[in-house]
Subunit: 338 residues, 2 copies
């Protein structure tokens, strides 16, 4: 590839099929692991950056079967009807293990995927969760440069991916089914604490259960707000207390209420300065996360470390060497014989 094969201008200024091709090419370049591609990718990112940041970044998480795709299809079409351009990106933690996606492809959102004002990109299909999250963040910047003003980042609630999504979006929405006990799971995993809004889907199937779940989750959120670690919350409790709403994505019920809540949250966050502060905080955290990942990778690939690691690991396992002594030996191996 030459750098000229994908230009920032094509992403920013082209329209229609030409722009889609430019976006797809850009994301492919960003996902490449070749060193020369990475240099081009950084140049492309830097050129795109002045055109980014103007979208609303919405994170949506929930267990398989909660109805995320149905909801995103309905929401996306509603937003396009309101004049928005909608990009949907996915982080699938299973793809980082298997190399394949359990979330399937664009066929999950039949109408949205073929709409000219929507862009749907499945999860990068390999790498660590941190790596996949990085690619998704960068794909988000490409979509923003291409004037998509609502970027939805979707993930399945089975791993650590919820934190990754909450850390790259302006608002994090947790979708729940109307059964008791689910809220305990979300609390246990620390996901409830990340939520700016909780949506109970399929409320029409069992209205009583949905209302009970709404009360339970509201009460859990109140306790978390009172006692939770403020550093874990992404919002300021004094400005926004997370809401719980009921919807039925299949019947298209509750989508307007949902979007009104989003708009209300966004307005309060913007007024208070939290909107910009959260983005700055996310950027810095992202930088340090990638640095730490890079340091670990370089260490594990260092020839001297690879030579010493098996015997020191064995010494630690057999109790012949203290773990901290082994750690210090390996660290000096990397530094002294670089």
């Amino acid at each position: 590839w030459a750098l000229t094969s994908v230009s920032a201008d094509a992403v920013v200024q082209a329209t229609g099929a030409q722009q889609r091709r430019a976006i797809a090419k850009s994301i492919t370049l960003l996902e490449s692991t070749r060193a020369d591609h990475r240099v081009q990718a950084d140049e492309l990112l830097t050129a795109l950056l002045p055109h980014t940041g103007k979208s609303f970044r919405l994170g949506i998480s929930g267990v398989p079967g909660v109805g995320k795709s149905t909801f995103i299809e309905v929401l996306g079409l509603y937003l396009i009807g309101q004049g928005h351009r909608v990009a949907v990106l996915t982080i699938d933690p299973s793809s980082t293990v298997s190399g394949g996606s359990i979330l399937g492809d664009k066929t999950r959102m039949e109408k949205l995927s073929v709409h000219e004002h929507a862009y749907i990109r499945p999860s990068p299909s390999s790498g660590t969760l941190g790596g996949v999250a990085e690619k998704t963040r960068e794909a988000m910047l490409v979509c923003e440069a291409a004037s998509y003003d609502v970027v939805i980042v979707e993930t399945v609630g089975v791993g650590q991916s919820e934190t990754a999504v909450a850390n790259m979006t302006d608002m994090f929405v947790l979708m729940q089914l109307p059964n008791a006990g689910d809220d305990l799971q979300a609390i246990k995993k620390g996901v409830m604490e990340l939520a700016d809004l909780v949506v109970i889907n399929k409320a029409d199937i069992d209205p009583h259960a949905a209302t009970r779940a709404q009360a339970q989750i509201t009460s859990s959120l109140r306790l978390l707000g009172l006692h939770g670690n403020p550093e874990h919350a992404h919002h300021n409790e004094a400005i926004w207390h997370p809401k719980v709403i009921q919807i039925s994505a299949l019947k298209g019920q509750g989508v307007e209420t949902f979007w009104a809540s989003v708009q209300h949250f966004k307005a309060l966050q913007t007024q208070s300065g939290n909107f910009a502060a959260r983005r700055q905080q996310q950027s810095l955290a992202w930088m340090w996360e990638r640095i730490d990942a890079g340091l670990k990778q370089a260490f594990r690939q260092h020839p001297q470390v690879q030579a010493l690691l098996p015997q020191l690991t064995q010494a630690v396992l057999e109790g012949r060497m203290a773990a901290s002594t082994a750690a210090r030996n390996l660290l000096s191996a990397q530094i002294n014989r670089a």
Copy 2:
């Protein structure tokens, strides 16, 4: 200091006041940050290592006011009565911030602290939580080499220190007060999932509340056992399902029941091979944790990184450079100009 000023032999073979002085000197050496002391400390650790590992390592956590000191004093005196030698180490997360300990000193355990078969050491008073945990692990090895056969590591349940303690002990005990709502907190922070045993203290003050709390926590533990991430649990649910017991430390009630539960747990863990497996896993995890901490420290202290960091941080905050691009630039600064 010379290496001869503290010998492994004095720790292992001396008795009484002479041994106490050797232990105190060893721990002081291990806590020193001077590079030449660190070399001596590693030699001392390696010499002590063959004499370590024969104690039972018991972690105890709970919020301030739950009665940890009272319980440990009663338990320690009971164990000494049974012929054990008891060491008590403390990890105080507040000391890593303030340099002082909110947990106070030995005066909290008046009778135990003066007993010839007990050794009490307060929290290291500075450093990161990871650093404090490392010093405490090493102090634990010194106490084991000095024939203390029960080592209690205590921490206050207000930070991430519970995970550090659970990761260095054979059994992790969570102390709770008999009020509803506390279990939600412990679940939220992921501490409940670490517990091998939950102890409700001050049960005599309100027996009804204590019994209600016991039922609630038992039910929460059952749900966590059914749905929790097996990687987070320190025990195997097929072999041990965490128990909830009531005690009154102030009245000395329940201490025998507590120790019987501990013995039962230990026997099952030993039979199944989990006891040894958990220790090996902890040693390896400890090694990698110290490596990661060392890598981060070396990076932050690198002159080229320190020179570039302010301007790149600024560029990221102002949106002129993508966070991942800044991370890559800083990583290559460290590697290329070492």
